[in-house]
């Protein structure tokens, strides 16, 4: 009962078809009130389609979307207490910045004076007060983006939809805006549904993330869940970097799966439900959870040869070739200590992993 109360948006078995193309395939997810929720996925996976369905611009083919417990299928976009920050901003070109921000407040039935006060507050919040009288075309991309945000926040919606609002910004402004958005969400208490295809952005900003591909939700969870315990190969591969290795499960003893890697290398990791003995599955292990040494660190350390060292600022990325096996990537932090674990090309080394770092995956 209390859980029901907390749901801002409840998407239930939603299917959306364009002709005979299925853009959303049985999507179900619950977005809690006051949550910073992110839809993350590659281009064309249906993020915008889902957002547009929530906003009311698309009629779903099947399923139901509830807003605070009520089915909103018959509610047109202008009757939904939901505002959108559009991917292309969609600012009204013939109105000043102030008028743009006043628009939604006025259309909600407030009079001009109220709208003007409210718009003034919003302009202050996004630090654009001095541009109130300008037209959108006289602002930079980043400023327009902030106007779009202010315009969507001004009518005090219950849910704010943001469709890749930062994609046009340079890295520095983007980072700053990420923090600003996050702070704004916390201050206003409005539920944010944020769309991005940038996994780093998703990880830093979100309370929870839904990873999507091909019109399906692949995994839903907090940033840490998704990064550390991906449910399937797609999620492991899409979020961050990982070593994906084809393996066979030899035997399962006491909840530990003993696996065969090519070339006689052996690994043990935690058992995963539904993966039985003899099946060919994938194993995922993050590069930063592997390390190299000249002597075997443990029984399961695998012999390999360094074939590449790539300097990437904070880390060094080493690529090694397992003897008679696949290649693996190892990330070593660039510190005094870490440098001792980076070896010249051609060095014979042993690859070891932190306990619990390896994960068996379906698919």
């Amino acid at each position: 009962m209390t859980d029901q109360h907390q749901a801002a948006i409840d998407v239930r078995n939603v299917v959306k078809k364009f002709g005979n193309f299925t853009a959303l395939e049985n999507v179900s997810l619950t977005i809690r009130d006051n949550e910073f929720f992110t839809l993350l996925g590659p281009s064309g996976c249906g993020k915008t389609t889902l957002l547009r369905s929530i906003a009311g611009f698309e009629q779903v083919t099947d399923g139901e979307i509830q807003l605070f417990g009520d089915d909103i299928a018959d509610l047109p976009p202008n009757k939904r207490p939901i505002n959108t920050v559009f991917q292309n901003y969609a600012l009204f070109p013939h109105m000043s910045i102030l008028e743009n921000i006043m628009f939604g407040v006025e259309m909600r039935g407030n009079d001009k004076a109220v709208a003007r006060t409210r718009a003034g507050e919003m302009l202050e919040l996004v630090q654009l007060s001095q541009f109130a009288q300008r037209k959108p075309s006289q602002l930079s991309g980043g400023q327009q983006q902030r106007v779009a945000l202010a315009r969507a926040l001004a009518p005090q919606p219950r849910v704010l939809l943001l469709d890749e609002p930062l994609s046009a910004l340079d890295l520095k402004l983007r980072k700053a805006m990420q923090l600003e958005l996050k702070a704004m969400q916390r201050e206003t208490g409005i539920t944010f549904i944020f769309v991005t295809h940038d996994q780093e952005e998703a990880l830093t900003m979100s309370d929870r993330i839904a990873v999507m591909s091909d019109g399906k939700v692949q995994q839903l969870g907090g940033a840490r869940d998704i990064y550390e315990t991906p449910d399937n190969v797609f999620v492991a591969d899409f979020i961050g970097e990982t070593n994906l290795l084809k393996i066979t499960v030899d035997q399962i003893i006491d909840g530990r799966a003993h696996c065969q890697l090519g070339g006689g290398h052996k690994l043990t990791c935690n058992e995963v439900q539904g993966i039985g003995v003899g099946t060919q599955v994938h194993l995922s292990v993050r590069p930063e959870r592997l390390f190299l040494s000249t002597q075997p660190f443990e029984e399961e350390s695998m012999a390999a040869t360094v074939i590449e060292n790539i300097y990437v600022g904070t880390d060094v990325q080493s690529i090694v070739q397992l003897n008679d096996g696949p290649k693996m990537t190892i990330r070593t932090q660039n510190s005094e200590l870490g440098n001792k674990a980076v070896f010249d090309l051609g060095t014979n080394v042993f690859v070891s992993m932190e306990a619990g770092a390896a994960r068996l995956l379906h698919g």
Partner: protein
Amino acid sequence: MAGANIKSGIATDTYAKERYWLLLPSWAVLLIFIVVPVAIMMVYSFLTKEFRGGVIWEFSMAAYDQFFFDRGLFGDEPAKIEWTYLNIYWRSIWQAGLATIFSLAIGFPTAYFIATRDAKVRPIWVFLITIPYWVNLLIRTVSMKFLLRDNGPLNSFLQMLEVIEEPLHIINTNLAVQLGLFYSYLPFMVLPIYAAIERYNFSLSEAAADLYASKWQTLRYVILPTVKPGVIAGCILVFVPSMGAFLAPDLLGGAKNFMIGSLIEEQFKGNAGNWPFGAAASMILLTMVLIILMVFSRQQSKAQEA
């Protein structure tokens, strides 16, 4: 300082030397087809009329005097205002204005409809709109007269459906003139508005709906202001030729619904004409249209600043 000046001048001065030569064809066209004819007309309006049409090359204000003042049958009474022609002009203005409003009311939804079709079928719709205009205007207007007659197809059809018992008298009324003008100039309304709506970014309508605007509010506050240049162009393109139209008023409106175009046309027809008077009437029409357009654009730019 000098450097800054040079820099800011670059964009416009690239073709500084060639500019006048490059613009020559445009200037020539404007000169030959607009300035010269208007000048000829102006000169003729100040000449003396010859009784069998044509002019005597002698300066005279008689044409303008005839237009504005009534000096009795023999021209010896004290001057009173002549209302005959002013009334015709007044009627022309409101007929043209009404036709413009009418065309806008039908033309805007039509243009909107076409612009919101699939990009592949839009040219077909535009083509359909223009098909009737492949036929000469005179023939179309005569056909319209035939259609609207008391015993014409429209009345027969309505009587057959038993919508009406007695035939509707449409011909020789203002309504007939309106229908004629509307039909003559509708594409001039539809096409510029269509061009404007086609360029309109429909995500702005979604943004408006997202911000709680109803369909009408979206039309009123977002779509109309953005496509306004197209609407203004359409209104001018319908209003101006409607003012000077003579086929529709002549053929459909009859003698009672005389408009400026017919008045001017009469002056140049056969032996009864009066060339200087026709030229003067044209000059007055031209001046009036210019004044109306200027007032209009004044208000536009004022509204823009506000």
